[in-house]
């Protein structure tokens, strides 16, 4: 059930790269079809997910290029769900709506490259190997790209810069 198992992560990876749901769907679909053709030659024992995400991310980039559009998926938080528990927990206070809204607004103004790496890590919770595959870079580069993107986000949010390495995965 590889399609069903991976269609969610494939679609969302394509979505953050292509920036458009219809294009992301096309990219995920043709990624799966290409993977199907190539699967008979797929190296046994190698993890499937990064390999698939790499193909899908490439498709998504091609789609975006073909559309001649700057990516930029407009991020939005869903409306607050009504909560049953009356007293907000300390965790909920820390993760209150307002700081999250501010983060989303700030991210929407950032460069695609920074948004992509942040989305893959924190929204899709991809592993480093998967991020490297999807971004088409070396695993070692993922850390530094993420760290730089977080640094720029902090700067825009007016947070003090953190010690080097603190933003690493």
């Amino acid at each position: 059930m590889l399609v069903r198992r991976y269609e969610g992560v494939a679609f969302r990876t394509a979505l953050f790269i292509a920036g458009d749901a219809a294009e992301a769907q096309d990219a995920a679909q043709s990624g799966f079809i290409k993977a199907y053709y190539a699967l008979a030659r797929f190296r046994r024992g190698a993890p499937f997910r990064p390999w698939l995400l790499k193909i899908v991310a490439n498709e998504a980039r091609n789609q975006r290029r073909a559309a001649g559009r700057r990516a930029g998926l407009e991020l939005r938080l869903a409306e607050d769900r009504p909560r049953d528990d009356a007293a907000p927990s300390p965790e909920a206070a820390v993760l209150g709506r307002e700081p999250l809204d501010e983060i989303v607004a700030t991210l929407n103004g950032m460069a695609d490259q920074d948004r992509e790496v942040i989305a893959l890590r924190y929204f899709l919770e991809l592993s480093e190997a998967e991020m490297a595959a999807a971004l088409g870079c070396a695993p070692g580069t993922v850390k530094s790209r993420l760290s730089r993107a977080l640094g720029r986000l902090r700067q825009r949010l007016g947070e003090p810069a953190r010690a080097a390495g603190a933003g690493d995965v």
Binding site: M1, A10, Y37, L100, I118, R154, A166
Partner: protein, 262 residues
């Protein structure tokens, strides 16, 4: 991955949980429809009945899983290993699924003919057919152990443009042993595969409907970016070298070019 203790990182994770995203589309049925076709053997497949394509059938089953086990088109796929080192041709019954677009030609970096010749252990051969002239560009792909050289002839007065490659003619040369699948071709309904003779050499002509081509590395790793459509193609072996000629030329003309390769 451990839970970050940094507040911003925790907030980013929370943003991820609360993002308003379009619902995940169900891809399985659309992909199944692409790959599920009426079973029909290509006419020449009877000749090649011996090794069935367990790999392709297995791939389909693995990808589509239990719900779609009844994929007669894919399960009856027939593999043809035609004795050209490094090349595997597999006939898939049914029509070619859409979804493989024309992709970039993935043939390595551009070099001079001299550079290419110096980089590979074999002699780089060229067509000597009058009027064809010298290649317009030469590419070297070093992902192959002993290198793969591709001569590119642009489309123009002497050569029609091949829709799948955008150029007039590609001649690819590489060394391979019999058990390596460096180039794989998947054919569907409408593609003709025919044994041909090129002087004393044996080869195959693939014409008609475009087929799907993909490249791999020894050891089985697939270069997944290389999946693309290919048009009229001649593959043959000459002195331990595997040659692949792709163009919009018909069989007779392609054979004339191939026979002039020295």
């Amino acid at each position: 991955m451990s839970r970050p203790d940094d507040l911003l990182e925790r907030r980013l994770e929370e943003v991820g949980r609360r993002l308003e995203l379009p619902p995940d589309p169900s891809l399985a049925s659309a992909i199944g429809a692409h790959l599920r076709r009426r079973p029909r053997r290509a006419p020449w497949s009877a000749l090649l009945r011996a090794p069935r394509s367990l790999a392709v059938a297995g791939a389909a089953l693995l990808l589509l899983g239990g719900g779609l086990v009844a994929l007669p088109g894919v399960r009856t796929a027939v593999a043809g290993w035609l004795g050209i080192p490094g090349v595997r041709i597999e006939a898939e019954p049914g029509r070619r699924p859409p979804g493989v677009a024309r992709a970039e030609l993935d043939i390595g970096r551009r070099v001079s003919l001299e550079e290419a010749a110096a980089a590979v252990p074999f002699e780089v051969l060229e067509p000597t057919l009058a009027g064809l002239g010298a290649p317009d560009s030469v590419f070297l792909d070093e992902r192959f152990e002993s290198g793969r050289v591709t001569l590119v002839y642009d489309a123009g007065a002497r050569l029609p443009r091949a829709a799948e490659t955008g150029v007039g003619l590609l001649l690819t040369e590489f060394e391979a042993t019999l058990d390596e699948d460096l180039v794989k071709k998947l054919t569907f309904e409408g593609t003709v595969v025919e044994p041909v003779a090129i002087g004393d050499d044996r080869g195959y002509w693939l014409g008609g409907e475009p087929h799907v081509i993909l490249y791999g590395r020894p050891g089985g790793e697939v270069l997944s970016d290389t999946v693309r459509l290919a048009g009229n193609t001649l593959v043959w072996q000459h002195d331990g070298l595997t040659l692949r000629l792709e163009s919009a030329l018909g069989k007779r003309q392609a054979l004339r070019v191939a026979r002039s390769v020295r």
